[in-house]
């Protein structure tokens, strides 16, 4: 009995159910007031989070697969759910991040300050968490689609929490259109898989031959549908505005987890195939490189803190795709080492990105809460007013740049090692790896530039604009989740040996071929001990130098004065370098993709010029210069068909009836 109660399956299912109902206390308004209800639902979500993470860890440690079949059947056949290490690996962020976000919301979105929105938000937050878990657990096309659609809709309601603002409403609509385009892709994907395997249940791993034409269609459809959800370039158009306009803890979950559910879908689909052709791997790798470089280049041009972070999600999804590409190329060339390194790198980056991006979005939320604006160029000097947030945001910034001794470095190291293994081989694998590794280095360099910009302009220097909002440090409910994620970043970065076994098991689930060949295990491919040693030595050296410097300063005369400005004694806050000026050189260098738009008002001509203004912003180029013109063209050409869309419900019911009759007749012909 006890064993059954604590079986991983039971834990995960009860966590999913708890998360689904976690918003209910706020809906029962008679017994509890909103504030008490919020506490109760946060409590439920925290339990769900702990239980779910525990269940996932148990599965990862045991490496077993649990399959359950529901007794009642859907019209399409049996309904199966299951947990294997792949699901469990994605369940970690699915339960961890919403738990952190729920606690964060207690201060960030307090029921007393947002009485109008807190109920719907908390309700849909729980539903979204449960449905994400559902997507990861589903083992047949139909239940997958159900969970997927609930997740997409719940996310829509969360994005448009403040839909009285025009920006938010627009972002919500754009998200809705994009996500349903992706769902259309899934409607095509599952019937195609059904044609290949003959069942709505997911095929067994590596049971389908990837060389057939139908498999190619399945691959392209999956890449489109899941790539849209993951936010890969050029399908990312919904992502920046949605992440920027949602409340920060929702952005944290969307960026940290929902994008990863897209990655999960692609991984699951790829796991069905064997003998993968080279072009699959190259396709994924090229998409990864494009998303990585373009994502970080667009991020450099942004002046809105959350929009900037959203573009960095695109960059990181690009890095994940690069790892995936290495694994697929390894599968083609028969290199088990490349497969293992690429796949584990991609998987580890999934978890790492969830941790540091959620941390950064929560940090951004605290800053925005404290200074009352999202414009980076109006901030400054926040480190003195909100020191703890500044420290934790700094940890996130170093981690996202992939710098040692934090977790981003470990996953990028795995992917790099995959590339370097590829270089030793012949033909396409060597060329692809040799070109992709410097691209990853370029991404790293640009990310450092971008996060120095963010950290330097937002937290350092002096405030650039006086705001009316009283600047204050976030409460413990906001700091604690950030601290937890920061510790996770440091933990994985310093002791990667902790995650290696689960990573290896998860990779084996996707690529069972690895278990059959006697290749080296991951422990021997990756310098785990040396990562730990060098990280610790680095931290110890920094600490020792800091102590020495402190002692040195104590015995010396120290004074304070204004910053050196060529002897100018009255520097003003607005004379500081701004985010736009910091990024200017790099933005000009990438102007051929970024298409920055400048606006000038007034000219500076005489010795005593009049007031002049200059502003520049980087638009969402793919959306504004590619999709919208193309769609407008289509709209004009096809306006005749629009007569079918009357907007009258009865007419749509009639359409359904006519379709059914046509299909019925067609089936007898």
């Amino acid at each position: 009995m006890m064993q059954e109660l604590f079986a991983p399956g039971t834990l995960v299912f009860s966590a999913t159910l708890l998360a689904a109902v976690s918003g209910v206390p706020l809906v029962c308004t008679r017994r509890l007031n909103a504030s008490q209800g919020q506490i109760f639902s946060i409590f439920l979500m925290l339990i769900a989070s702990c239980v779910g993470v525990a269940g996932a860890i148990l599965v990862l440690l045991s490496g077993h697969t649990f399959l359950y079949e529901l007794i009642w059947q859907s019209p399409f056949g049996p309904c199966q759910i299951g947990i294997d290490p792949l699901s469990a690996w994605f369940l970690l962020p699915v339960f961890l991040i919403p738990g952190c976000a729920a606690l964060y919301a207690r201060t960030y979105w307090h029921a007393d300050q947002h009485p109008a929105t807190v109920r719907t938000m908390t309700f849909f937050f729980g539903v979204m968490t449960a449905s994400m878990s559902g997507v990861v657990l589903a083992r047949d096309g139909i239940s997958f689609l159900f969970a997927w659609e609930i997740m997409a809709l719940a996310a829509y309601f969360l994005i448009s929490t403040e839909d009285e603002k025009p920006d938010v409403a627009e972002a919500g609509t754009l998200y809705m259109i994009s996500t349903h385009t992706g769902t259309l892709g899934l409607f095509a994907l599952f019937p195609l898989l059904n044609l290949l395997s003959g069942s709505w249940l997911f095929p067994a791993p590596t049971s389908l031959d990837a060389t057939s034409g139908m498999s190619a269609v399945v691959f392209v459809t999956a890449l489109f549908a899941f790539g849209l959800k993951a936010g890969i370039m050029p399908l990312h158009i919904w992502l920046p505005s949605a992440h920027a306009n949602a409340p920060s803890h929702i952005s944290a979950v969307m960026s940290g987890v929902i994008l990863k559910v897209g990655v999960y879908g692609l991984l699951r689909t790829l796991s069905f195939f064997h003998t993968v052709p080279l072009w699959w791997g190259c396709c994924v790798l090229i998409l990864g490189v494009v998303s990585g470089v373009a994502g970080v280049a667009f991020a450099l041009g942004q002046n809105d803190l959350k929009r900037l972070l959203a573009y960095h999600s695109i960059e990181n999804i690009g890095i994940i795709f690069m790892g995936l590409g290495v694994a697929l190329i390894g599968q083609t060339t028969g290199s088990t080492v490349m497969m293992l390194l690429g796949m584990s790198g991609a998987l580890l980056h999934v978890l790492n990105h969830a941790a540091f991006k959620a941390l950064l979005f929560m940090g951004a939320g605290s800053v925005i809460h404290a200074v009352g604006t999202r414009e980076i160029d109006l901030m400054g000097g926040a480190a003195r007013r909100i020191p703890y947030t500044a420290l934790l945001f700094g940890v996130g910034s170093v981690a996202i740049c992939g710098l040692p001794p934090l977790n981003g470095f470990v996953s990028e190291l795995l992917i790099y090692l995959g590339f370097f293994q590829g270089i030793q081989r012949e033909g396409g694998a060597a060329v692809a790896s040799a070109l992709a590794a410097p691209a990853l280095a370029l991404i790293g360099g640009l990310a450092v530039a971008c996060f120095v910009k963010v950290y330097g302009i937002v937290f350092l220097g002096v405030p650039r604009a006086e705001t009316d909002v009283e600047c204050h440090e976030a409460g413990w409910q906001m700091l604690l989740p950030m601290l937890l994620l920061g510790v996770l970043c440091l933990g994985i970065g310093l002791v990667p040996a902790l995650v290696v076994d689960p990573l290896q098991r998860t990779s084996l689930t996707i690529l069972p071929i690895l278990a059959r060949t006697t290749g080296l295990p991951l422990q021997e491919l990756v310098p785990l001990t040396m990562i730990t040693v060098s990280g610790v030595v680095l931290l110890v050296l920094i600490a020792a130098l800091a102590v020495w410097y402190r002692r040195r300063l104590a015995g010396m005369p120290c004074s304070e004065t204004v910053t050196w400005g060529c002897a100018y004694q009255r520097p003003a806050p607005r004379m500081q370098y701004s985010a736009s000026s910091f990024a200017d050189m790099l933005v000009s260098m990438f102007a051929f993709v970024l298409k920055p738009q400048s606006h000038r008002k007034g000219v500076i001509s005489d010795l005593s010029p009049d007031c002049a203004r200059f502003s520049r912003h980087v638009p969402e180029v793919v959306l504004e210069m590619l999709y919208i013109p193309a769609l407008m063209h289509l709209y004009r050409r096809l306006s005749g068909i629009r007569r079918l869309q009357s907007g009258v419900l009865q007419q749509y019911v009639l359409y359904s009836l006519v379709t059914l009759i046509v299909l019925l007749v067609a089936s007898y012909l």
Binding site: G402, P438, G445, L460, T561
Partner: protein, 302 residues
């Protein structure tokens, strides 16, 4: 063990000497006597004895900048083989750590510069960010070429593998690589034609302008870290350009020291013979270096 001790000793003691030699070479070209070879050591000791002045706008990040810069460079120094001897730390994948350690140091140096709130320093860190982004792919193309040539995944075996035999069989690739890496060496260490460490105008500086507000012991740390970075990148470069190895440990250490001194003279000659590039030309030259390194990669993987 003895080799490791010599390695650490050289990394601790020798870097400022390179600066002294560069200065002396430049003086010789200009017809001056120049400062003594040991002048950089005197400067460091004098700075360590001085008090500090801090800007009122700065926070802990400003104080952490020099410390992290020195710590990261010091660990990178433990990864690069000096001459034909294996370094104290060597493992598969250490080349990535080597590249990313410099990035970590740069992150904090640039953040410390922005902490002062000065436009000059902001400008310097924007330039550093831009140029280092362009130098990064060159280094990785070089690492790929070396990894392919040696079939190994650690910096020490990649670099020690280069010998005159490899030069004979892959001369074209290595010449391209030497060209590309020399440009990166000069750019990363802020030497002419990219940056002039002795310039007096804030508007034209790159590295020096980022550290305008540092003083006293912190400035000593920065100067020493810069010298160490030149030494570490120089040791990397010397492996490519002057791959002497005799097999005798003592002789190899002597050869390494002589090669480093030669390198310092060469840098001094380049600095004397060339003018500084205009700021807009710098990215073009860095991209040219990337293209050279990319060509060398294509030559070895074809």
């Amino acid at each position: 063990m003895l080799n490791s001790i010599i390695h650490i000793f050289l990394a601790l003691v020798m870097p400022p000497l390179l600066l002294g030699i560069i200065g002396k070479t430049k003086a010789a070209f200009a017809g001056r006597v120049g400062a003594p070879f040991l002048q950089p050591y005197y400067d460091l000791f004098r700075l360590l004895q001085k008090g500090s002045v801090f800007s009122t706008t700065t926070s802990w990040v400003f104080r952490a900048g020099p410390i992290v810069a020195l710590a990261t460079t010091a660990i990178a120094a433990l990864l690069v083989p000096f001459g034909a001897h294996t370094p104290p730390i060597s493992f598969d994948g250490d080349m990535i750590l080597y590249a990313y350690l410099f990035a970590l140091g740069r992150f904090f140096t640039m953040a410390a510069a922005l902490d002062t709130g000065s436009s000059f320093e902001g400008m310097g860190s924007a330039r550093e960010a831009t140029f280092s982004c362009l130098a990064e792919p060159t280094l990785f193309f070089a690492l790929i070429t070396l990894s392919r040539l040696s079939g190994s995944f650690s910096l020490s075996s990649m670099l020690i593998n280069i010998s005159f035999g490899v030069w004979l069989s892959n001369g074209a690739a290595l010449i391209l690589l030497v060209g590309g890496m020399f440009i990166v060496l000069l750019a990363e260490n802020c030497r002419i034609p990219f940056d002039d460490p002795n310039t007096h105008l804030e508007l034209t500086m790159i590295h020096e302008v980022m550290v305008l507000d540092h003083s006293g012991p912190a400035f000593a740390l920065i100067q020493y870290a810069a010298a160490l970075k030149l030494f570490v990148l120089g040791a990397f470069f010397v492996h490519l350009a002057l791959p002497y190895a005799t097999g005798n440990a003592a002789l190899d250490w002597a050869l390494f020291i002589i090669s480093m001194l030669e390198l310092a003279v060469v840098i001094g000659v380049v600095e004397s013979a060339m003018a500084r590039l205009r700021m807009v030309r710098i990215p073009q030259l860095l991209v040219a270096a990337t293209i050279l390194a990319a060509f060398s990669t294509l030559l070895v993987i074809r």
